[in-house]
């Protein structure tokens, strides 16, 4: 018997509309509102045992409290499955549903929601299992049916790719076999493209997330600047054994008292390009000599005496992001106002 936990906002729980958007998290036993329809859909195989209600404003304005409430709910109720919403096109509700799904997945509980394909909630947690819905609650019936169908497949372990099983793409690619080789498919795709026939690209071009720019350095004359590199400049002998390729760590090296990086004391261990020039003159990657000269001339306050170095050759995006966060934290602790990242 599948025990289902359902997350609803204040409106769908029947508490009130916008005026009650600050409703604090509350747990009620059994299904509420659309949850009753869910009960009907899973009749015999499961039931909605608990509903968590939270106002959309509360969830977005008190995220820590909301998160804690969700986690407590999950721990106490221990559902086998979590359904959130559906939120249709509502942005705050969609974000909350996505977050609830993320917390459930982190607790190893499968979670499904229903969102309009342009709901910004999808950006909160890209890997949400969400069925596409229309943009209003008029589509509640079909949305719930689709959510339950998706949830059943997840629980049974028979879930296939997004295009096949009708849920929103999660940005995950899995290996699979196709009928014909890539070369044959490529020639066929070219023939189709030339003839004006429709074709389906196998890799939809993904965009990187935009990064909000940092404000400019206000007072350069007194600012501390730092040097960071993915070019693999390390002390000679590579004491930390930074790999030439596929490295998942970064290291910090002391620059105190150093005016230059000599080729006797430093080397380049990046495996993705011809690194002999950089070994012979590490300044070609880390411009310490120029930085020190400008520091002495007062072009900026001082140079942070730490060089953060890694090899960017074939690094996984997840590792790169983590490195950025970790190095950022270090530089913030050192009160660094601006950094030069030299990428090779």
């Amino acid at each position: 018997m599948l025990r289902i936990g359902h997350y609803l906002n204040q409106f769908f729980a029947g508490i009130g509309a916008e005026a009650h958007a600050n409703y604090p998290p509350e747990v009620r036993e059994g299904p509420l509102g659309p949850g009753r329809a869910v009960d009907g859909l899973v009749k015999g195989n499961g039931r909605v045992v608990s509903t968590l209600i939270c106002g959309d404003n509360f969830f977005n304005e008190h995220p820590d409290d909301a998160r804690r409430a969700v986690q407590d709910w999950l721990t106490t109720v221990r559902p086998d499955l979590v359904l959130a919403g559906p939120a249709f096109a509502a942005g705050r509700y969609g974000s909350a549903c996505a977050e609830v799904c993320r917390l459930a997945e982190a607790a190893h509980i499968p979670a499904v929601t229903g969102l309009h394909p342009e709901n910004p909630g999808l950006l909160v947690y890209k890997r949400t299992y969400a069925v596409p819905t229309g943009n209003s609650a008029a589509g509640m019936g079909p949305a719930l049916a689709a959510m339950v169908a998706l949830a059943k497949k997840r629980v049974a372990g028979t879930l296939g790719p997004a295009a096949q099983d009708g849920y929103l793409p999660r940005g995950i690619r899995r290996p699979g076999a196709r009928e014909t080789t890539g070369a044959d498919r490529a020639v066929a795709m070219l023939a189709a493209k030339l003839a004006g026939r429709p074709f389906q690209t196998e890799i939809p071009v993904d965009k990187y997330d935009a990064v909000p720019p940092a404000p400019p350095v206000a007072d350069m004359r007194h600012a501390t600047l730092a040097l960071v590199t993915t070019g693999g400049i390390v002390p000679k002998g590579n004491p930390d054994r930074i790999k030439r390729c596929s490295e998942n760590r970064w290291c910090e090296y002391d620059l105190t008292g150093l005016d230059a990086l000599s080729s006797d004391a430093y080397e380049c261990v990046h495996g993705g390009f011809f690194n002999l020039p950089a070994c012979q003159n590490p300044h070609l990657v880390v411009p310490l000599d120029a930085m020190r000269r400008l520091e002495r001339e007062g072009a900026f306050g001082q140079l942070c005496n730490v060089l953060c170095s890694t090899v960017g050759n074939d690094q996984r995006l997840a590792d790169c992001q983590r490195h950025g966060q970790e190095i950022g934290r270090l530089l913030r602790r050192r009160e660094v106002a601006g950094a030069l990242l030299v990428a090779t």
């Binding site: 995950i172 690619r173 290996p175 080789t181 890539g182 795709m189 030339l194 596929s246």
Partner: protein, 518 residues
């Protein structure tokens, strides 16, 4: 240019005094090969092995794979411009080749070369088991392991090995001359004016290290794009070398390029193939990359191409010029399709976990909006979600020389283009969770040794499993010893063909319980 390819399929390889091909059996005289190779004073020793698909064999130190071909009539020599072959333009006449068989060149990278050139990685091929993920596990090989003079510099070492490999291939192919090939196929680009004109843009890495890398008629440095007739490629105009050869740039792959074999049958039917533009990649500056892209598009435009099939052989910054090329082609009104592997090629987690998590790394590191028609050959991960449950070790009848499943594998449509890397980094993913294997990072063989070939050191307190004598190779004194029975003469040459290697274990979800091993 009219090329007729005569194909001799090879089902068995035999050693004998009379080299020749007869009804699927290729006879090779190992002594003749040995003496031909040892003519070069730079080569100290050679070991010769036969390897068949499906065998419990792992081959390490792979440097290149060369398909034996011989020009029976027509101008020039196959694999022109290297290993002493003349640089005459090829692609015309009659060429004979073997199918399902290749010469596998193995040699351990010298320590100073490994330090200097990161491209000289150590790669391996497993002929059976969960590591047999590429097309190279389906070929029959004459594995030639070479030990060179240890003092050779990079270019000399590369040249010595490549020449040796090609001399062996030439020796083997020479015996095909007198025979009649059971299969024949003609390749010609007869004019087809009514059909849409299509160009194949073949982007190939050029090495940033001078003197090594993939060569066109032996020419390796960066150069502006040039035009080749596909028959030239079929005759070996593009060849790898011993540094970057295996796994993604080996000579075998160039003459067996599935794109050529896909385009040719459609020429004259759906499209008119006008040629292959070879664009070099890994230029160091953006301006150079742009120049290569602009000139490639201009060449295609001058050929009046309406469509382009763009392929490349992977890399990091190489993708920038490939994408710029696609952009320029599309801007010139040439419709483009891009055939590529995905960037996260090291997703080789052959476990059920892959079914849950998949990979969310970006499939391509860089892209342009014009790249709207892409065909993916995936990553290194196999299509099925994990190895067989239960024992990975196939049952062997006592006394049997090979296990019952050994023998020629039925051909399966294997994705050739995707097998870019099978180096040790990829196989790291397959290691069991738990205590790290002891890493002895002295010497180039240590890498292979540490990852796979030493017995696993159990954590303190857990009794070590006894190893049956002869069942596995054990590391002794820095040299690996395989059970006797492996052919080869020169006892001093370190082995690269290892029988019954330790099983690559699949990663498990939970750490192993104390006392249990699998």
């Amino acid at each position: 240019m009219n090329l007729e390819l005569g194909t001799f399929p090879v089902e068995t390889v035999a050693f004998g005094a009379t080299p020749g091909w007869h009804q699927g059996t290729l006879s090779i005289d190992p002594d003749r090969i040995r003496s031909r190779v040892l003519e070069d004073p730079r080569i100290r020793g050679i070991r010769i092995d036969r390897v068949a698909p499906g065998e419990r064999t792992r081959i390490i130190h792979v440097r290149d794979i060369i398909e034996p071909r011989v020009k029976v009539s027509g101008r020039g020599h196959v694999y022109p411009g290297i290993a002493g072959h003349p640089p005459d333009t090829v692609g015309d006449g009659v060429t004979y080749r073997t199918a399902g068989f290749a010469v596998l060149l193995c040699s351990e990278v010298l320590p100073h070369i490994r330090r200097a050139v990161s491209a000289a990685t150590d790669s391996l091929i497993d002929m059976a088991g969960p590591g047999a993920v590429t097309v190279y596990s389906t070929l029959r090989y004459l594995a030639v392991t070479i030990e060179t003079d240890p003092g050779l510099e990079l270019t000399e070492w590369n040249e010595a090995l490549r020449t040796a490999g090609h001399h062996v291939a030439d020796e083997v192919a020479a015996c095909l001359r007198g025979a009649t090939p059971p299969e024949r196929q003609a390749f010609a680009l007869t004019p087809a004016p009514a059909l849409p004109r299509v160009v194949h843009v073949h982007a190939l890495n050029a090495s940033m290290v001078p003197g090594i890398g993939t060569g066109i008629y032996g020419f390796t440095p960066h150069a502006l794009p040039m035009l080749l007739h596909p028959n030239e490629i079929l005759d070996g105009a593009i060849a790898g070398d011993a540094v970057v050869g295996y796994p993604g740039k080996c000579t075998w792959l160039h003459v067996n390029n599935p794109v050529l074999l896909s385009l040719y049958p459609r020429h004259g039917q759906e499209l008119s193939w006008v040629g292959s533009i070879i664009a070099r990649t890994r230029w160091g500056s953006l301006a150079e990359k742009q120049l290569s892209a602009y000139q490639t598009a201009k060449l295609a435009w001058m050929l009046e191409a309406q469509g382009a099939l763009v392929t490349w052989n992977h890399g990091g910054n190489d993708l920038v010029e490939v994408m710029l090329t696609i952009q320029e082609l599309e801007r010139a009104g040439i419709r483009t399709v891009f055939l590529t592997i995905e960037s996260d090629i090291k997703v080789v987690r052959l476990t059920p976990e892959l079914a849950d998590t998949g990979s969310d790394e970006p499939p391509l590191l860089f892209s342009v909006p014009e790249a709207d028609a892409i065909v993916s050959t995936g990553t290194l991960a196999a299509a099925r979600h994990g190895p067989r449950r239960g024992r990975d070790r196939p049952r062997v009848r006592p006394g049997a020389a090979r296990h019952p499943d050994a023998g020629p594998r039925p051909p399966r449509p294997r994705e050739v283009v995707r097998c870019v890397f099978t180096n040790l980094w990829a196989f790291r993913q397959l290691r069991p969770r738990g205590p790290e294997l002891p890493r002895v990072l002295k010497g180039p063989r240590a890498h292979a040794r540490s990852l796979f070939l030493l017995p696993v050191t159990p954590p303190a307190g857990r009794p070590r499993r006894p190893v049956r004598a002869g069942a596995r190779p054990r590391a002794r004194g820095g040299r690996l010893q395989a059970p006797s029975g492996s052919r080869g003469g020169d006892a001093g040459v370190p082995r690269s063909v290892l029988q019954a290697p330790p099983i690559i274990r699949r990663r498990r979800r939970l750490p192993p319980a104390p006392g249990s091993d699998r």
